[in-house]
């Protein structure tokens, strides 16, 4: 059943271009949304019971012969699957209206589903080479999706993204090659066992540095962030939402956390490096966001800043820090995709992304304005929304671990975040309505439905944060907190 998370999107993607010849819009809309809804239901309804006795490993046989098709579902993978399918479902709902004017909708959905299969595959595999393989599947689809509009900016941004991402991939595969050379293994358990008995700390250090560089580039951590502020704003809004909300988390944060905590084991030196990278990203990107006039570019810088919080929490390495980091990963995925979708609604209605040209749009687009407030306050960490609780947990974890300076910086960065999100509200939605926007109307039905679902989820997770943590976040944090023990203990790896 776990295999469905990879196979179903790939199969549907394979037939979509053919279906697109028969029905240009309706059937591709129904099929794609159906895939996301089915996988979301599967993750929500079956996931918890599947992992109730620990990680589950699914293996396959063909005519009685065992195949090397091994997928593993634990708390961390399940959290990622739920995040990917939930946010992906809302993005796909939003695309029903938004992607109409781009044309070749079936092709767009096919690429989006391949990206989904890549992300799902990445969170389910137990092998370093397969991490690289599925990372590339998602990445190749995302390059084309960034350039989907075929305008000059889109093509330039996609090319820049492709080039920097290729550099990241080279570092990741180099590290995997060296690890294979050192341990003779590619699967997590074999590599973890090999590293435990190996006396080659310089080479292992080089591998760790290559992974930090590679996954750091994929996650857009400062100083590896140069591609993101170009790529994310240039893409169509649903893809901006998928890249910022999902892809940088799966191919950056998930891969980095899985490899460093469950395979290498988090050493004090590694923890310090990750925490510093997290803090630098948090502050530098927040300051850069303040100076932006472009709605989507400001959101893109905000993504880098929030990834900093997540890496700070996970890099701290304490159970509470990891819990906070993973909770913030979910919350940021929900809120940031909501904000990117709303920026798309505003751009579609006004034709601009320049905040200085907007003003008073709340009067014409009340649902978009209201859901943007929810997303903004959530990311800024205003109670009782979801972002408040995750930031609070990270800060409490830092104080518990006596990292006073980092805790203070995290609080100050949160104030900065609130500042630039209030700027967005004031410039875009409040104040006097600009005369140019007299004819502007609220976004179409499916676009507002998608954003309302995401906004309600942000509120729901915030109000019922204790239940959310207990049900979905704690099992994920447990899988990471146990570190290499879980890999070596035969619990599924």
């Amino acid at each position: 059943m776990i295999f469905l998370f990879v196979a179903l999107p790939l199969v549907v993607a394979g037939i979509l271009p053919l279906i697109g010849k028969i029905s240009k819009k309706v059937l591709p809309d129904i099929l794609t949304n159906g895939v996301f809804a089915a996988l979301l239901a599967l993750a929500l309804l079956q996931g918890r019971s599947l992992i109730s006795r620990g990680p589950v490993v699914e293996t396959f046989s063909w005519l009685g012969e065992p195949l090397s098709l091994r997928l593993m579902l634990d708390g961390f993978s399940l959290l990622m699957l739920i995040t990917v399918t939930l946010v992906g479902f809302c993005i796909s709902l939003y695309s029903i209206n938004y992607m109409d004017h781009y044309g070749a909708k079936a092709n767009f959905y096919a690429l989006f589903l391949v990206m989904l299969a890549g992300m799902n595959g990445l969170v389910l595999v137990t092998d370093l080479f397969q991490i690289y393989l599925f990372l590339e599947v998602a990445a190749v689809a995302s390059y084309a999706l960034v350039a989907y509009g075929l305008g000059h900016d889109e093509l330039e941004a996609a090319f820049k993204y492709l080039m920097l991402s290729a550099v990241a991939s080279v570092f990741i595969i180099l590290s995997i090659i060296i690890l294979f050379g050192l341990t003779g293994n590619l699967d997590f358990a074999g590599v973890a066992q090999g590293l435990k008995t190996l006396d080659a700390k310089y080479l292992v250090g080089i591998c760790a540095a290559f992974f930090i560089f590679g996954f750091g580039l994929k996650a857009a951590l400062v100083p590896f962030h140069a591609w993101l502020p170009d790529a994310h704003p240039s893409a169509p809004a649903p893809i901006s939402a998928a890249l910022s909300g999902l892809l940088i988390k799966v191919s950056g944060v998930y891969a980095l956390a899985r490899v460093f905590l469950n395979v290498f084991g988090l050493t004090p030196a590694l923890s310090t490096v990750l925490m510093y990278l997290g803090v630098i990203s948090m502050v530098a990107a927040a300051l850069l966001a303040l100076g932006q006039r472009d709605f989507k570019r400001m959101l893109a810088y905000s993504s880098i800043s929030q990834i900093g919080y997540i890496i700070l929490g996970i890099g701290l390495g304490t159970p509470l820090g990891i819990l906070g980091g993973l909770f913030h990963l979910l919350n940021h995925a929900l809120a940031k995709s909501l904000l990117f979708l709303n920026s798309g609604s505003v751009q579609m209605a006004t034709g601009t992304r320049n905040l200085d040209e907007m003003g008073g749009l709340g009067k014409r687009m009340p649902v978009t304005a209201a859901t943007t407030i929810v997303g903004s306050l959530s990311i800024a960490g205003v109670p009782p929304l979801n972002g408040f609780w995750s930031k609070l947990i990270i800060i409490v974890a830092l104080i518990e671990a006596k990292h006073w300076a980092f805790a203070l910086i995290a609080i100050l960065a949160s104030v900065l975040t609130l500042w630039y999100y209030l700027l967005i509200q004031r410039r875009a939605f409040f104040g006097k309505l600009n005369e140019r926007w007299q004819a502007v109307r609220e976004a179409p039905f499916w676009m507002t439905t998608a954003t309302v679902i995401l906004a309600l989820t942000c509120i729901g997770v915030g109000v019922f944060f204790a239940a959310t943590i207990k049900t979905w976040i704690q099992p994920a944090a447990d899988a990471l907190s146990q570190g290499v023990r879980v890999t070596l203990g035969g619990l599924g790896f």
């Binding site: 993607a13 271009p17 690429l111 391949v114 393989l133």
Partner: protein, 160 residues
């Protein structure tokens, strides 16, 4: 030894030509030839599985994808590159070769030698029994590449 050096030189020369040539079709063919040489090297180093992959996927299928993509492009006026661009790669290439030789030489002594791996059966058996899920990833990559070509070279409709 002479054959090995010839093959290695072939990989380097055709890879460099793939970057330096201005004709995209010739570049793609040079890349395929470089992959072919690399595949032969893998076979000679007793890594037949990766050799077969290199020749079938990289030299074969990806070249077909490149050629199809190039066939879909149109000439839209001359794009003049700055002189710096034509100098940048050769300089980078020479610096890279020097650093590569130095780094590889210093690293070689530190990497513990692996025990030789026992024969794990035929190419098909290895692929089917040991790396099955890689095939799913390969299918995903091929689908992503084909859809990317279809999306980026699509004819735009009137309402776009």
């Amino acid at each position: 030894m002479i054959l090995q050096i010839t093959l290695l030189c072939g990989v380097v020369i055709f890879s460099a030509a793939a970057v330096l040539l201005r004709d995209l079709l010739r570049s793609a063919i040079c890349l395929a030839v470089a992959s072919l040489f690399l595949g032969i090297i893998f076979f000679r180093m007793k890594a037949p599985y990766i050799g077969a992959f290199e020749i079938s996927v990289v030299a074969g299928m990806i070249t077909v994808l490149f050629v199809v993509t190039i066939a879909l492009t149109k000439t839209e006026g001359d794009v003049r590159e700055s002189r710096a661009a034509s100098w940048a790669f050769p300089v980078f290439f020479i610096v890279f070769l020097i650093i590569d030789v130095m780094v590889t030489k210093s690293l070689l002594g530190r990497v513990p030698a692996l025990e030789s791996v026992p024969d794990r059966g035929t190419f098909g058996e290895t692929l089917w029994k040991m790396r099955t899920f890689d095939l799913v990833g390969q299918i995903g990559l091929i689908l992503a590449s084909v859809f990317a070509v279809l999306a980026l070279f699509r004819k735009r409709s009137k309402d776009e």
